[in-house]
Amino acid sequence: MSVVTLAQVQLRDRSAGSCEQRNGFCPDWIADNWTNYVDPTVRHALLVALAVLFGFAIAFGLALLAHRRRVLVAPITAVTGVLYTIPSLALFLVLLPITGRGITTGVVALTAFTLLIIFRNIMLGLDNVPADARDAATGMGMTDRQVLWRVELPLAVPEIVAGLRVAATTTVGLAALAFFAGAGGLGGEIYSDLTFKSNIVVAGGLCLLLAGLFDALFVLIERLMTRWRRAVPA
């Protein structure tokens, strides 16, 4: 992935053909050049996947802590909230001196963004567990840990997956700016020729496609994990 200079807009190879020169929408050009987009797309998907994965791991750990000690909810929400609020571009740049250029900075920053959404949704899911199911579980002799893993978490799955869905689709958008930190992704493609319409459409379209794929993935996961919600009342 070449280093993008930020001072000038680099023109794409628009050598042959009048279509490019007219700067219209050129299917031919797309057919010829689509392979250029493969690597950035893969990198983009990787960034999102890693961010969501790490974000989930961290947020899950935080949620388990906060579930037992309610006092922790407010501070955790505040910290993850600040991370969420900071514009992605700003966070990428602030991290640059610390983690350097490259995919690490990208993943760290993107992970930080997902924390609030995922944490909040896990907490919401756990809070929405019906009180009588929890009471019955404890009363029948489950330890706190057993109640958590056998009753509360399974029942919180819809909320949790919903959070992951939102996190993933939002991160796809945010990852478009990751190239500013040298992390690659489709943003670099967009930025490399801002005025060429075909480029914008293809790169932007791929972003939306990725978002749609992640969305569908989580919908599928939710369906697989919650057969019990679709049980039709007899």
Binding site: G81, P87, A90, L93, T170, A176, Y191, T195, C207
Partner: protein, 250 residues
């Protein structure tokens, strides 16, 4: 020099850039210090106009859809899809197809800001207790009055949540407005060769602080407009989020 020291000095330089004016590397232009205020002002101007227009469009639309129930799919789709649109692509699209300029960027930002507000307005109206709406109609209120006197006030906290989210997005995206010719706080980032590394980092810090400040202000505003008795903690218990197709943005 130890790596840690180098990092700290970079931050030091950045802070310095924010507060002291100096001449640009390419010469002839004053950058840093008070010039930041100009950038900040432009940034705020762009954001304010955009959010105002977004509210003007999204809230009435969301109220109408929420109240009548027609176009629900549209509202849900816009809210969900809007999340996935990368801001860079949107700006680039407008630059490519419509060109540069304040108006064009504003348009792009308005489009970016509409989905969360539309989604939250729709959900906010939907979640008003139907019994209350029924009672209001039964008392003889017209549809418009039901909307204005019953549904809207009760939906305000949720709507505000959407506005809050849009503000963050707009402030963040205004950072890349220089790509479209509007010189905001993102200029040192986009044109780092003029401003230097210190400038780039300094601008990033200012943008971050600006975003956090906006968030705090709007969060306080949201608490203000929430009628006592529907404070967020209780509100959460009344919601059944998993049945919602439109996620309520924070």
């Amino acid at each position: 020099m130890a790596p840690g020291g180098a990092r700290m000095s970079q931050f030091g330089d950045a802070i310095d850039f924010i507060f002291t004016s100096r001449e640009s590397r390419t010469g002839g232009v004053q950058i840093g210090g008070s010039q930041m205020l100009d950038l900040l002002w432009k940034h705020l101007e762009l954001s304010a106009v955009s959010i105002a227009l977004a509210i003007l469009v999204a809230v009435p639309l969301g109220l109408a859809i929420g109240h009548t129930g027609r176009g629900a799919f549209f509202a849900q789709f816009v809210a969900n899809a809007g999340r996935a649109v990368p801001s860079l692509a949107l700006i680039a699209f407008f630059v490519a197809y419509i060109g540069v300029g304040f108006t064009n960027v504003t348009l792009a930002l308005v489009l970016l800001g509409i989905p969360p507000i539309l989604g939250n307005t729709y959900v906010g109206v939907r979640q008003v207790d139907p019994d209350m709406v029924d009672a209001a109609r039964g008392m003889g209120l017209t549809e418009l009055q039901v909307l204005g006197r019953v549904e809207l006030p009760l939906a305000v906290p949720t709507i505000f949540g959407g506005i809050r989210n849009s503000v963050i997005n707009i402030v963040a995206t205004a950072t890349i407005a220089p790509l479209a010719g509007v010189v905001t706080l993102g200029d040192p980032i986009i044109n780092a060769s003029v401003y230097g590394d210190a400038g780039r980092l300094g601008a990033a810090i200012v943008v971050a602080v600006l975003a956090i400040a906006s968030e705090i202000i709007f969060a306080a505003l949201q608490r203000r407009v929430t009628p006592r008795g529907i404070r967020p903690e209780r509100r959460r218990r009344m919601l059944r989020p998993s049945s919602r197709k439109v996620p309520v943005t924070p």
